[in-house]
Subunit: 247 residues, 6 copies
């Protein structure tokens, strides 16, 4: 099966980090292909950036060769529900996959990330997935970091301290180090944490495999049926074709 | 005060309908200026379209001369939270204004609209505003309509029957005819409905006036502070400048 | 339009403070008339006092010349739902107006007040309006104050510190200084607060204007239709007439 | 122990019906004394009437000789929380007692009553007690009735049909025939209902006995401590004394 | 009436402590008989132990002579809902009774217990009863204790400090010292606590009396009707007979 | 990896049906071993049976050779949380896996099953997983069936009609045919359903593979740490050893 790992950020090294992590966890026969946004921001951290990045996700999915399933590879899942509505293959969000996997390992999960700006967006993401009751806390480091691609090592000690606080003070039964740049951190520090750690990319790849194994048909009813065709103006060609039904 | 009524749809006649309705309700001294999207779809009806339209809202707000307040004039409020975060004047959503106004007039409001595709998006909009407990129902007509700008007269009888059902069966204490093309319908049929009717544009103009009267400062803390500057790639110039802080 | 600002407390100087603040924010053409309770307590602070004060609200509304809209001018909104049910003009609560306005300016609002006794009642008021999910915290100063009409200046520093804590610790995106005696405080300290501040009386006047602009009819169905006439015993004449239908 | 059964309605025959029912269920040693409102309405059915009736409850409790516990004997519990705050003996609501007892007998209870006007108030009462999740439905007969004191026999067949619908369609596991005039109906029809029936007065007497058996002290902290003394104006003497602390 | 107080733990001295406390609160005519588990653990503290203990509850209830009502005398209520479904007399849980009684005495109750392991199970118990909104906090002592039957005196000071913190910090209006070994503690320390204290066994006995007074029939519809007979394999004889309908 | 598919029911043919379905979906390298209960009932359908079956799950897990992960293969997940607490390998519930997988494919899932008795237990299972907000409905056929192992073909038409109603009337975006005897039905009828169908066993196997891929450590903190050792009386040897820490 061919999984499209779509990074709606412009940071190609983060895409590569996710590809390597995902490939190591994939089942035999799973091929991971990647796309990285050519417009936008290095990492989506706010609602405004998620609005823009989510629209890019739709453009990119329309332009990509049809995969067996796609992963929206930014924690926060920009554009996820629109993509699930518009396309006929499974689309999985990085946050969604990490949270649902964490549900398998305990009662409530804690989300730990590297930048304060991310917190409101993540909190809304948890709520949009109906998982607020399963979330012990969303916490972030204060302060700036030197380099996005190195933030997980630069801030490792602080991130681990914060994660321990989320367990001790907020009662998390499982931990998610959230945000694409933190991919792989969990595997490295797993034995130093007092509860199970979910790697967001491993979760996304395995849940995408699960979704494909279920061989779901495209809904023809309900909230995720393909919208009726509609004329468009000025949209990128592939996306326009998907919306106006000429694809 | 200058209110920017921003229609993220491409339908200019709907913009004009909203302008006329809003101007009639505005206080002396309130000037309403409009913008209509030059890209996108005639009316946003799905999550995918809202994702795209919400990104356009940010572009358009960045390009417009600074107003005293802006109205995102599509029920469903595409891009609202991102806009509230990114800009330093009040931004009000059409759905938000209609729902909060309806809260003043009863316990639970009912939302009635003209196309089934809108329902999941509207339901999510209600939830995103934390108003699910105040919403009796979201219901839509089945079937197609001939013309967007005439849908409110073409379907008037069916819309009124549906609204009466929302009162009788779902227990709505107030009604919202939702979707920009239904602007003005409420005023026309008010006396035939058994509960108060909220016109979405009247509500948005009056609540925008209220927001300006409160003279709110831009948050420097919390979830709606302006995000830290960040480099961008390939975004429209004005929006890029707002995000990278060079505006 | 004529707005009745009804203070169910016996403190006439607080009524005047609210009138002045409201008049400054009113649109041209809005006239504010006031009533102050001749029975009861100087300021309602507990559920028992709100029970008594809410019954007075109904008496006073029945006795007043019919306004275009009325404001129940005590934070906590004593008697509001009964009034909305019994009378055929819009009735707006001070708390309701402040909270709904705060919703326009951010995600979650914080309520800060001057006396601990108020907190349980305010918390129940937030819940009764279905806005618990939008409320970051309700916090009050400990300790006594010298004079009700001067409490906002006497306690200004402590109130501001508490408000800052509600932003920093509870995550409020907007602030309400709650309780009629704090009217006007927000305007004075707005620039020292890190998030927008809502003045409760400004909010109530502007939302009452909005309600009138919507020209709502009296419900003839649902939870806010006028109750069927019913005989009464020993009630004040105007209220009795409103209940037994002889008014 | 001496239980005060306080009817905030003016209907003395309903008070007597409740006294007889309660006395039959009371433990040896429990004496039931009654009070009936001398002002107000024959039966409280709306929020406005509950606001007035709840204030009467406070007056009457202040005037009554101190009981071991009191029952606010109107379903809907007017004035209950204020009374619990103001007085130092247990005060139990008729609705509260019926609902908490029903919780003992199944998962979700259904409330059936005789007049449509009662429904919004009862729904708010369920919510105020935090029991919405335990309530399958609140349903009422449509139409008028001839006499309050005979409504339970006049409408018996319709009430039973409605109760059966609440079980079959709404999934109630226990039933409450709500409203003081329906006292005793449950005992008479118990064997014709498919789920356990709770008599509101039996429940209130037994839970009042339970509250007394727990020998609870008056709170000196939290939301039900006695409010600090406060001057009053124009209130009935006993209530004024309780509020200003001179009792 | 004959109440069966069933201890699903193996600690006979705790059973006796509960019998004595319950008997002192029982009405004239109430006889309390006890059973203590002959298998299992000294005190159930985890979900796994509750799973096992709950199955024992069903076995023991099937083997006991039919009582007028039964009390599952372990806080956490193992097996309660299954028992309520399977048997035709009222079955009351210790936690359920304590929590519902606490609801009569204030807004939100606090649960204080002696061992950290109990907390997750208790939290789930509160949620299973739909009372999360009425629960201020569940808190437990850290550290080990010397003897189960003496834990309430050994740890009295710490338990009282913790209880005071639950009032001051979490806002509890009533307190429950939870866990069968703490039976009787509340009565002893009542006057040293700032809010009413509910003894779990007193509550259970009085609510069992209330349930019997309501003379509830066994449901023949809904979620607590007796399940249809079903063949069993290898279960204890009395329980098998109850399930396969040959009892 | 070795997955233990543990059927807490006594029906061996249903175990085999699940094994075959699971094996077909498993990744290369995944071996599925099974256990079937030797005590209990043919299929767990009530809370009482789930209480007993859940205790058997713990016994059986203690006796089985340690797997890489285990599946509690009864929809309703008897004993799941206790097992997750007690054992140090991932334990996945059939209902949990089906529901979390359905979350990937739409907004709200619908659960359709073959016997009315199952509904209350399933509803509680949904709530216990915190997924009530993601569940459109739980519905069951009325009436009896001839044979457990053939129920899916005997009742196929009725089940499909019911499933279509859950989509059309309750708004389900994905469907789960729930209950071990319905394993494989979804795959057979997938193309006749208007929304994606989740097979519970396929979901459980793929999510168990995901859980193993995450290589979670056993929690040493939080609600799923292994309980402290505790003496036991009369429990099966392997389970006793796991609880008293001598394993």
């Amino acid at each position: 099966m061919r999984l499209l790992l779509l990074n709606p950020n412009t940071s190609r090294d983060v895409t590569e980090l996710m590809r390597v992590t995902g490939a190591a966890a994939a089942a035999p026969g799973t091929e991971i292909v990647t796309m990285t946004a050519s417009r936008g921001v290095p990492y989506i951290a706010t609602r405004a950036e998620a609005q823009i990045g989510g629209a890019l996700v739709l453009e990119m999915l329309a332009e990509a060769p049809r995969p067996d399933a796609a992963i929206v590879a930014a924690f926060g899942d920009p554009g996820l529900l629109g993509a699930r509505e518009l396309f006929d293959f499974p689309v999985i969000g990085l946050a969604e996959a990490a949270m649902l996997s964490a549900c398998l390992l305990g009662g409530r999960f804690g989300i730990v990330t590297f930048a304060r700006a991310l917190v409101p967006w993540y909190v809304e993401c948890v709520a949009a997935h109906g998982l607020t009751g399963r979330c012990a806390a969303v916490r972030a480091l204060e302060g700036r970091f030197a380099s996005l691609s190195d933030v997980q090592s630069e801030k490792e000690d602080q991130l681990l301290d914060l994660a321990r606080a989320v367990v001790a003070e907020d009662g998390a039964d499982a931990l998610i180090f959230a945000g694409a740049p933190l991919t792989g951190l969990g595997a490295r520090v797993r034995d130093r944490m007092p509860v199970p750690v979910v790697d967001q990319v491993v979760a996304a790849v395995k849940l995408a495999e699960a979704a494909v194994a279920l061989r779901p048909r495209k809904a023809t009813a309900g909230a995720f049926r393909r919208p009726d065709p509609k004329p468009t103006l000025g949209l990128p060609a592939a996306l326009a074709a998907r919306i106006d039904g000429t694809d």
